[in-house]
Amino acid sequence: MSEEKRPQARVSRVILILIGIGMVVSLYFIVSATAGYFQNPQGSQWQTQLLYGLLILGAIWLFNFWIKGRSKKIEWHTVSQLKCEQEGCEYSEIRDFKEGDYVYKKLGNCPLCGGQDTLYIDLIYAYNPLEVKPQSTETAQSA
């Protein structure tokens, strides 16, 4: 399975950078406001700076909530992997799990080699749909 970086990972990195920049800017305003207050408590510049700093912090906080709210949880998808037990037949099919499926359940005749009652469920597993979807293979054979 290819380990290509998912777009979600890139988006979250950009978001992290934006949040980092916002934090630095708000920190700058708050520090400036504190310094301004001690230099001249009667002045109005430190209040404006404090307001900007707090506004940016608030925006980051809200943004964080928004991001958390829209982050989706992984919905695992369960599939059944079918195989043919006929020697030489390499039939393999991956289909959605159906209720009543179980590993080594017989499913009838093989659609590739025509073997009588040779088709069975070899594996049942869950995969993450954000990763690469498992592929069925119907490679050539001769029964």
Partner: protein, 377 residues
């Protein structure tokens, strides 16, 4: 003094800033409030977090009950209301652990209690779901067990929340708050497990039976203990007896008794016991990693493990353990691809042990331990 007043009021005289006065006053009020009511504020925040978690648990336990009831009513002729009432009455079923102040024979007593509990579950399922076949009955038992687990967690958290509110005890509230993340992981795992059980999907814990089932292919299974089957096969001129719980219904069976019976049947002439099981990984480790060790790889409360260890000591049989790493969520939910794909690696290791640590003509027992839900043989 004047300096302090200036700091508080933002300077004296006509040029004093009213905003600075308000800001400073608020700041001092906040400090004083924090000194006297800091712990109360923290308690309030902890209680809010616990309440939020409890709301989530409430949703899970309600949803779990609905899944359980609908699943059971599929196998019953009785009305839905009747089935629902019967199940509701069973969800607080409990087992009192045996007294361990006198440890002599505690495992026998525990096993007896577990057998009685199991038979009560079987009776209950046969009563509420008379149309269910053997495999479905086992799976329904699992569904009810998982529903009970989620419901019990909900009740315990609710108890501590209400007790904490009633007594205003920081200790009570804090201890539940501190453990909340782990409790929620367990509760979620059981809730997801419940859905898997209801659909009959193999779970991560079933990797042991899955390996055993693959090794068993082509053999004729015979029952060696309650809900445990075994197949004898010739692998590289060794007589290998493969043991697993009887699938595809959801059960772990009594694999300890199964292995013990097989060893006794062979009069102790067994060269090795190889056990395969799922084991909890540590954070940072990869799900599906396979590792080896020695000892009885079985996560039961004691009786089954004891039987295997006892047989090993009695006949001087080495016990090998091969485990597949996974988290609690992985173990209780639909088997992940990485776990399913580890089966080949486990089989390779079993073959290595058979070829390198036993001789031709030896008898070896391979036991796949775990819940065999969705895994036949």
């Amino acid at each position: 003094m004047q300096g302090l007043l200036d700091l508080l009021t933002g300077g004296s005289g006509e040029g004093s800033n009213p905003y600075a006065v308000i800001f400073n006053l608020l700041f001092f009020v906040f400090i004083i409030f924090s000194i006297f009511y800091g712990q109360r504020i923290q308690q309030f925040m902890w209680l809010k977090q616990i309440e939020r978690a409890l709301m989530k648990l409430d949703v899970w336990q309600r949803e779990g009950k609905v899944i359980c009831k609908l699943r059971v009513s599929n196998f019953s002729d009785a009305s839905d209301e009747e089935v629902f009432d019967t199940i509701e009455g069973f969800l607080e079923f409990f087992m009192i652990m045996p007294v361990d102040k006198d440890p002599a024979g505690v495992l026998n007593r525990l096993e007896h209690l577990m057998d009685v509990r199991k038979s009560r579950f079987e009776d209950f399922v046969s009563r509420v779901a008379p149309k269910a076949n053997e495999a479905d009955s086992k799976t329904l038992e699992n569904v009810i067990e998982a529903t009970i687990a989620v419901f019990t967690i909900f009740r315990i958290i609710r108890h501590f929340l209400l007790l904490g509110k009633k007594t205003k005890s920081t200790f009570l509230i804090m201890q539940i708050y501190m453990q909340l993340p782990l409790i929620m992981i367990f509760a979620k795992a059981y809730f997801e497990a419940l859905k898997c059980f209801a659909e009959g999907k193999p779970i991560g814990d079933g990797v042991g039976p899955l390996v055993a089932a693959r090794l068993m292919r082509g053999g004729e299974p015979k029952e060696v203990a309650k809900e445990v089957v075994a197949v004898e096969k010739n692998i590289n001129n060794r007589n290998v007896i493969i043991v697993k719980a009887k699938g595809p219904g959801g059960t772990v069976g009594k694999p300890g008794l199964g292995v013990k019976n097989v060893i006794e049947e062979k009069e102790g002439k067994v060269a090795r016991v190889i056990m395969i099981d799922a084991a909890l990984k540590l954070e940072g480790e990869v799900t599906g990693d396979v590792i080896e060790g020695v000892g009885a790889a079985i996560g039961d409360p004691g009786p089954e493990k004891h039987k295997i260890e006892e047989s090993g000591v009695k006949y001087n049989i080495p016990i090998d353990a091969i485990i597949v790493k996974q988290s609690i969520e992985d173990a209780l939910t639909s088997m992940k691809k990485s776990i399913a794909m580890s089966v080949d690696d486990v089989i390779k290791r079993i073959h290595w042990i058979i070829n390198n640590q036993t001789n031709e003509g030896d008898t070896i027992v391979v036991a796949g331990i775990g819940n065999t839900l969705g895994v036949g043989q």
